[in-house]
Amino acid sequence: MLPVSYYLILSALLFTIGAVGVLIKKNPIQTFMCIELMLNAVNLTFIALGRYFGQMNGQMYVIFSLAVAAAEVSVGLGIIVAIFRTRESIVVDDANLMKS
């Protein structure tokens, strides 16, 4: 097996790319995809370290992370559809009601 650092660095790279994507994309669907990418990057870390220590725990975390991601995607896409239906636009910057 390769040194675990390789996997960690790859994971860090993917995570950073995902984070940048979240910050610069205006299309919420793409923002969502970037979030999925970040989750995958973390999953890679779990599995690599689980293999490294020869334990199941890392993989178990990944299973739960998968479940959470699936739930999040279903709800998140539901929200996007609902927003689109009410505002006829899904540009993230248009949704700024949080400003008083």
Binding site: G18, I47, A71
Partner: protein, 177 residues
Amino acid sequence: MFAQILFWVLAAICIISSLVMVGSSNPVRSALALVLTMLSLAVMYITLSAQFIAAVQVVVYAGAVMVLFLFVIMLLNLGAPALPEQPRSMQTVLAIALAGVFLVGLVAAGVFQNLPAAPISAKHLHGLGTVQQIGYSLYSPHQPWLFPFEATSILLLIAVVGAIVLARKQPAETEGS
């Protein structure tokens, strides 16, 4: 040697396809690039003796989740790149700069951690990542995962209900308009 080559190839595919995903202004292209990333990650999971996870990755992520994405894109007719990105806004510059610092920090931490290669060889893994092991871990009363597993099933149920509630047309809204 083979494993090394495989890693580098998979890593390259991962990084390039994720960059494409972020860089593309077409959501469909982004989605397909993400599928590619996930598939290469799935292969990487197999080399890390996580066969079950690899299968789930393909089925759930590359399959179900990405189909859902594409479905929403098609439903809302977002296929065309109708949103011109504003180049070099303050937000973009700051985001890339911060992300750079973040990456350097993470990589530096990983390198300085300086972990030795594989303290446990493949022989001593005792079927790590097999379905049997996963099943044992999830349902054995001696393992701590049974309760989280049940809780997750409730979470998924709530998510399903939430998604239905959100996607349903509001009666008041339709009548009002």
